[in-house]
Amino acid sequence: GASDGDDSATGQAGGTLRILANDGSTNDSLDPLRLERSFQILAAPLIYEALVDLDEQLLPQPRLAEKFETTDGGKTWTFTLRQGVTFHDGSPLTPADVVASISRALDPEAGSGNSLAGQLDKILLPAGIKAVDDRTVRFSLEQAYVFFPNAMATRFARIYKAGTTDFAKPVGTGPFTFVSLTPGREFVAQRNPNFWRNQVTLDRVVITNVADDSSRVSSLLAGDADLVFEISLAAAPDIKNSDGYTILEQANARWLAMGLDGTVAPFDKPDVVKAIKLALDRQQIIDNALGGYGTIGYDTPIAAQDKWFANLPQPTRDVAAAKQLLANAGYPDGLDLPAVVGLSDEPATMAFLQVAQQQLKEAGIRFEIKPESGATYWDNSWLKVASYSNTYLRRHPDEIMKLVFLSSGTWHQSKLKDAEIDQAINAAGQTTELDQQVAAYSQAQRLIAERDTTVVPAHFPGSPASARRSRV
Amino acid sequence: MPQEIGGALHPTYRVRTQFRETLRLNAGLDKRAADRRAAELLASVNVAAAALRRYPHELSGGQLQRVALALALAPDPEVLVLDEPTTGLDVNSQQQVATVLRRAVRERGVAALFISHDLALLSEVADDVAVMYAGEIVETGPVAAVLHEPRHPYTRALLNAVPSPLEAVTTEGIPGVPPGRVVDGECGFAARCPHAAASCRAAVPALASIEDGRTVRCVRHRELSLTVVADRRRAASEPDTRTALEVVDVTCAYGTTTAAAGVSLRVHEGSVTALVGESGSGKSTLGRAVAGLLRPVSGEIRLDGEPLPLDPRRRTVEQRHHIQLIFQNPSTSLNPRRTVGDLLRHVTSRFVEGDRAARDEAIAQTLAAVQLAPAVLDRYPGQLSGGQRQRVAIAAAFVARPRLVVCDEITSGQDVSVQAAILATLADLRRRLGTSVLFISHDLGVVRSIADHVYVMRHGRIVESGRTEEVYGAPRDEYTRSLLDAVPAIAPVVPSEAVQERSA
């Protein structure tokens, strides 16, 4: 899945796979509830597995659970565990392990606020998790939730041995067993000979943290590494043109967002927001800011190639129309926006802002870029200032729309209250029928693109979490 | 042994290491043999073997020079070249080195070439002497003969410039400056020679052999009779006049170090009073107190009977005006970034009454008195020769027409001929302006040639005082006597008739 790295390790039989990550830190830990940076997020799926995997379309597929079903429209979910799965210590996987792992994820004390606990807040109580027999776990929800299996695929829902409290030597069921972890520097895992699914060909995986962009690329090209995460998109063409290298593209792993507070001037004038959306040359953003990798954004979190896509008309640049809109809004000579705070840890965001700045300038819309590192961005600017920009990971529409576009969403960027949007988002959860869900989300997308102030110029490939913390 | 004391030894190795290294290379000696030999060598220069364990910086200047001599003797050389081996040493150390050298040379049969400025020292050390001028040997011969009967005008002029502690003599500078290089086409000394004739300018004279194995490079050596040195004896000092400066029971201290304790002295109007003594005896300290650079701890300083405030900052302009100071080293006592004119104008604007024209007049007169051309006014000190610089310093002191000038070692560090010229200038100015001079020096010869009164200082106290001829003639204090004994001097010759030029 997009957010959970890739365990289908590539490479020849035997040997060591050397991976470089960029954001290791001294608090790296393999506690599944503390997975925040890509360094850990890359390491964890080698050790642990979840009940469910998400496929390319973000639809749940069996993993440790052989099958999962609801009989009452989403209020009760029954998961049947796969047989013959053993932990790295040789003990078999049992429903008790699932109960323990998921219960702990819901415990605010243990998880200090992981997003799974937030997602299932007031929906699943610890008492609602039961081992039915030696193969079955039943989740009794407080209210119907048709997307519950998606929740069981997130990185916080991974299964480990019941009773584990210290994750210094983590034990899971994954394709590799833990060897060592030096926080902020290095993670080493070796082949799990008893892996249930297929024969693992690699002997070892070493994930190393290298903060400097160019050093990571240089190491890759110098043969010091096999797989590098968080390659600046600018370097990608370079690598692609070198012999023996491929870029593993995940077409729409991420999306760029510019958040505008719709309750303050000038973003409280819909024409201004429309003018901004019109003045952007989205293809140029992809070409010049994203190294040519990416697809046009329709100002919604759903990319065109997604199953859920609403088939909206493609936004095209129209500077004249934008100027006209500005004039209508009372800015015939253009206007100066409040400074846009950009998350400086993300090269894509900073590149986007610099290109967008030039494009908007042509329409008379001027703004300054204020870079801010993740250390303060999330606390001081995100959702707080009038305009800001960062990227978000691709998520299931249910999850992302409820977070960002619902009036009561915790990441609600526009701050506008729109009952119709809320209703369209909630409608999708009323049914288990995929077609009806798609229809509801299409309606939501149309409304969001039309009314919400959030600008989504592009979706682009990328590995997870260059932002420091797992906001995304 | 190169010029500059102490530099001949490596600063970071012990003396023993340096002997071992040298002896192993030159004589193939092992450690123990080398140490034995080193001790012998040291003994031959009167240094205890304990010095072997020392680093060079732990030896005194005299010891160091003797150790360096021993080290130079270690490879058993046949010829020893010594470039001013005693310059910078005090008179006692000079004596020791000279003695040791003579002995070593005699015992080992080494030939030594001893390069020196100090004619008096040479007269005690050397057998033969060669005099150089402008890159040429101008005269050679046995030392006694050359120094007593110079045949070259330069040698004679040089001898006339040397003051003597043995008798009160006037000294004479040589006009002009040495060319500093070989002069082509004429006698190198012609430009400064009082006897230069057309023939001197025709070609470079050849070195001619004369009697007693002597040689001389002068075309007129037959015509000139320089065998007799002019009567340089100076007139007896003038009778005492009234007191200009009176220092009463002055004590000076730097923090806890007392540099002068209860010193009293007086300087008579229009006379030169000298303050002599070994290095560190407190001479400069006293001079600085008088000149107002230092606040004495106690005592009284009176100028013309009027007491000066102890705190020099409280002196009035008038009081500052009447006491001026000249430092030893004009390179450091003149601001290198100010022209001579700027300095003199600054001084006159402060101390000379009258308008601008009057001040310029005072400057012009003073410059003439110190024999400097008005062109120097636009020069920076760095563009002047050492002698010229010292004249500028003298002019800066005298241009104010002070009552008293304090001269702190104003001639040490100068060439003898320059020194003589400066002393003459000083004497001339003093006579003309009636200025009193407090003359601080450790050169007993210079003092004898210029001072009317002498005070001898030791360890911050005056140990002896009196009129110059009395102190030099019959020193009462033990220390004064030892000082006088140690000074090398050219034995005086009985003067006869004045210089005669056979052909005028």
């Binding site: 370079d238 610099q354 494009q359 | 302009v317 500052r320 006592s333 100010r338 560090g413």
Partner: protein, 285 residues
């Protein structure tokens, strides 16, 4: 007796071969860097922040140095990018000098306890590593030009104080100042006539040495992302921005890097020469 050794190096003394090559090379480098920095904005063919073409183009007739990752004209960015590398260090050095020289002269003149206390304090302040402190400060106050100048100046003040104090103290201990004192010159007069003219040479040398240091210091801060903000061009930042282009278009990195080096080298070689002219002994760059 020896003749007086001329301790004052004279303005007219012959210069060495090394220094004459040095001043030629240094002067040329400095002129080049300054020329680009000051006149560059007038010559730039494109707006340095505008998207001028496809990204990552190699050198061509239209884009002489190619384009960067965002498609901006690299030549225009180079031509505009020197301003901050010249202005910030110059300003910072001037500020450091204004403060440092004043304190240095003051303590050097005063001597005594005031001097002792200041010297000890300076010893201590000098031991604080500038880059480390700058990182801490800039992450505290943000990285506006004002902060950059302030932080840079702050860490170079003690260095200036030390040199100026030393020079002043040497002058104050000299006989000619003693003579001025005996003459009754006021402190102001001594300052004007004796101290300032005699330390000005060292001040110039020190200024050159500091400036050269500060250029590199500021470039390094820019490189670490603690200086100028994108999209404004700056040579230091350009080296960081374009590192990934090194393989395909080395000029994108080499040109700004070379200009930084030219500036620093030029300043240091030329100030060496000025020092020689002013007859101050230079031991260090």
């Amino acid at each position: 007796m020896t003749t007086t050794v001329d301790t004052i190096a004279a303005p007219w003394r012959k210069r060495s071969a090394a220094s004459s090559v040095g001043v030629t090379v240094g002067g040329a480098a400095l002129l080049l860097a300054l020329g680009v920095a000051l006149l560059g904005p007038l010559l730039a063919p494109f707006d340095p922040v505008a998207i001028a073409g496809r990204p990552r183009l190699g050198p061509s007739a239209e884009h002489l140095l190619g384009t960067d990752q965002l498609g901006r004209d690299l030549l225009s960015r180079v031509l505009h990018g020197g301003w901050s590398v010249v202005a910030v260090p110059t300003l910072a050095t001037l500020v450091a000098f204004g403060i440092g020289a004043a304190i240095g002269v003051w303590t050097g003149l005063a001597g005594g306890h005031r001097d002792l206390v200041t010297s000890r304090l300076v010893d201590v302040l000098i031991s604080l590593p500038p880059l480390l402190m700058a990182i801490v400060f800039i992450s505290a106050f943000g990285s506006s030009a004002v902060v950059l100048v302030g932080v840079t100046a702050l860490f170079f003040v003690p260095r200036v104080v030390r040199v100026v104090r030393g020079a002043t103290a040497a002058v104050v201990a000299s006989d000619y100042v003693a003579a001025s004192r005996a003459r009754g010159d006021s402190t102001t007069q001594i300052l004007r006539r004796d101290v300032v003219p005699n330390i000005s040479g060292q001040l110039v040398v020190e200024f050159g040495a500091r400036l050269s240091n500060v250029v590199m210091f500021v470039a390094t801060l820019n490189y670490l992302g603690l200086g100028v903000h994108p999209p404004q061009p700056s040579w230091g930042l350009m080296v960081a921005e374009n590192t990934l282009l090194l393989r395909t278009n080395p000029l994108a990195v080499l040109v700004p890097a070379a200009l930084i080096a030219a500036l620093a080298v030029g300043v240091s070689l030329v100030s060496d020469r000025v020092a020689e002219r002013l007859a101050v002994d230079v031991v260090a760059p």
